[in-house]
Amino acid sequence: MSDGKLSLPVLGEVDRRTALKAGAATLGVAAWAAAIKPWFEWTANLSVDELLQKHYRELSPEQKQEVFRRLEEDARQEYGAEVDIADPLPLPGVQYAYALNLSICIGCRKCAEACHVENNHDRPTNQSYIRVFEMDKGGIDFAKGTADYDHPVPAPDKYYMPVQCQQCENPPCVHACPVEATWAEPDGIVVVDYNWCIGCRYCEAACPYHARRFNWQKPEIPAAEVNPNQGYLSNRIRPQGVMEKCTFCLHRVREGRLPACLEACPTGARVFGNVLDPKSEIRWVLDHKRVFVLKEELGTRPRFYYFFDK
């Protein structure tokens, strides 16, 4: 042990070792503060209200309105866009399903593009909830398919398979989520509370259909391109670091409109509707066509069906 003693103005006599340790500790604290400075640049944009916001399903109608107004203000400040955030609720007696006619899909990717625009996706990455695969005829083998084709369509001896969230009745993503940030709504749509998700991406690992997307950075959208008609659980501009997914455009379909991908389809390959309505077109397709679902053996029970027409 050190015998050296220092005489300091305020502290009085301290041994040299203690003085050195104190000096090192001060330096260490200063170095740590400098190292994590970017963290504070980030938290500067984080309000206490946002940090302490409750789960969507625990918010009262009044609290929801407060949250929506705050998010609208955020959109104004961060994107320069005037947006309207609403929260259309699931309709009683409605169960949605989607069917896609593979015989007439031509692989034009209009659906993917419509999704990109409707859902306020990040522009630089050209994000979309739909990936269209060009498949070899003679099987449904994704190993022989590609989503990166770049030539006029339809190509000979190929068929096209758009894949988006299958809105499973037994959704592996929902089971995986450790914080209940994602769940199936009563009408069958699997949603994410973007303000509750912690961004662990376990759901993305669990999904067998590559349906989930992560916001690897803050989405970039020019103000003029922002779709102002937004749903809290669907197409509002997502925060950085959270998961997102196809919601069958719930902000549209719960108000009686059709999903953007269906409206954009030039061939009429897409059929959407309420399976509980015996007169709906989707019900007719499910009753009369030999439909199948992707990866049926996994027991996920998709609400998204495919069929060949001829």
Partner: protein, 426 residues
């Protein structure tokens, strides 16, 4: 409770007998003193580790600010180096139990003398695995959503919630055991078995649970055939019981050479035997796994094929997995050599080879191919970015800081340099 100290009559506290309210803070204060006091080699080591940890903290702060786009991960490969390292560190923590079992179940006295090393390793490794998950979160500010009671805890459905429980539980159990034993020794009292033995036995079961649950995170996913195998949890345990003892052997050698703490030859022999068996079991299971996927072929072989041989010109993981295979086989050969019991360099060589080999095999060789090809058979490759390497290095540096400090205090306590009896010495 009896607070009389029978072995430290010389202490000069003003209040006698000492009460825990005064002696426990004193213990912590002394521990802090011991932890920050040492030779210049010690200071150099701690400064270097702090510097690396700082680099990691800085890289993480940038990642939080700018987004996970700073990593090499994508929507196709959505977990990478962080989760790979997490998996390995959980194994490292579980590996500490390979000292506890001989010490407490088989009453191996020499192992009992050094078992604290395994328990401190468990603490450090659990902290490393927790940090590896925290840095993987897109929204670390929402970490509280995971806390039962104030967040929404999707238990028992989500396997991740099980992992949160078992990892934190294992941390608390080991903190209690290590803290209690050191404090009693500091007081100069004989530890009361009722206060730690039940926890020791619990920790043995719990060690198995942490790595089993971590394997269940992956093998429970039906959409990922590469992970969806019942052999995953047993393989995790087997590799943990290699990697953990390898690290402990290296640590014990350093302790033996640099401190007055007595480390007998017995623990080395026991740990070498454990590694021999565990590595044999691991290699058998690995061979069985590889036979099953490659002979069956079809869709399930795609990830293994990509991992070992590349696929359509994509071969990012091929060098990794063959490096791991070579290291594991070399290390295994070293451990099978009879000279491993006598020659320190053979032992060190074997430990380093197996440790690094398993880090690769269980990390980059297991997590990443789960995503390649993707669930829709797209091949998007992954390589960690500098940000990920910095953060991972920072986590290791932090873990080694915790391990070093823990050992420093434990050795001071167990060599009677830090006791209440010598309270008057600064």
């Amino acid at each position: 409770m009896n607070t009389h100290s029978t072995t430290s009559p010389l202490h000069n506290l003003t209040t006698s007998p000492p009460h825990h309210l005064t002696s426990y803070p004193r213990f912590l204060q002394r521990a802090l003193g011991v932890a920050t006091d040492g030779t210049w080699v010690f200071y150099l080591w701690m400064t270097a580790l702090t510097a690396v940890a700082l680099v990691g903290a800085n890289a993480w702060a940038f990642q939080v600010r700018d987004g996970m786009a700073r990593t090499g991960m994508t929507d196709h490969v959505s977990w990478g180096l962080y989760i790979a390292n997490f998996t390995f560190c959980v194994g490292l923590a579980a590996g500490g139990v390979m000292m506890v079992i001989p010490a407490y179940l088989y009453h191996d006295q020499e192992m009992h003398d050094v078992v604290i090393v395994g328990e401190i390793l468990a603490i450090a490794a659990i902290l490393m695995s927790t940090l590896s998950v925290v840095v993987d979160l897109g929204r670390p500010d929402r970490f509280w959503h995971l806390i039962p009671g104030i967040g929404r805890f999707n238990w028992p459905i989500s396997m991740l919630t099980w992992d949160v429980i078992v990892l934190n539980g294992y941390l608390l159990i080991n903190l209690h055991i290590v803290g209690y034993l050191m404090y009693m020794r500091y007081l100069g009292r004989k530890p009361n078995p009722r206060w730690y033995l039940p926890f020791v036995f619990l920790s043995i079961l719990w060690a198995v649970s942490i790595h089993t649950v971590t394997a269940f995170l992956y093998c429970g996913l039906g959409g990922r055939p590469f992970w969806n195998t019942a052999l995953l949890a047993p393989r995790f345990l087997a590799t943990a019981f290699v990697a953990g003892p390898c690290f402990i052997i290296l640590a014990l050698q350093v302790i033996r050479r640099t401190t007055s703490f007595h480390v007998g030859d017995g623990p080395f022999r026991t740990l070498i035997q454990i590694i021999r068996v565990a590595m044999t079991v691991n290699l058998i299971m690995l061979g069985s796994e590889l036979f099953t996927v490659f002979y069956t072929g079809g869709g399930h072989v795609a990830a293994a094929k990509y991992l070992y041989f590349g696929d359509h010109g994509h071969n990012g993981l091929v060098p990794w997995i063959w490096a791991a295979t070579a290291l594991n086989l070399l290390g295994y050969a070293a451990f099978l050599c009879p000279t491993v019991m006598r020659q320190a360099w053979v032992l060190d060589f074997g430990c380093v080879c197996c440790f690094v080999g398993i880090w690769i095999e269980k990390g980059m060789g297991l997590i990443v191919p789960g995503f390649i090809p993707s669930t829709l058979h797209e091949i998007v490759e992954y390589a960690p970015t500098l940000t990920e390497w910095k953060i991972t290095a920072g986590i290791w540096a932090f873990g080694l800081l915790v391990f070093t400090v823990g050992l420093k205090v434990a050795i001071a306590v167990f060599t009677n340099q830090m006791t209440l009896a010598r309270e008057d010495r600064p």
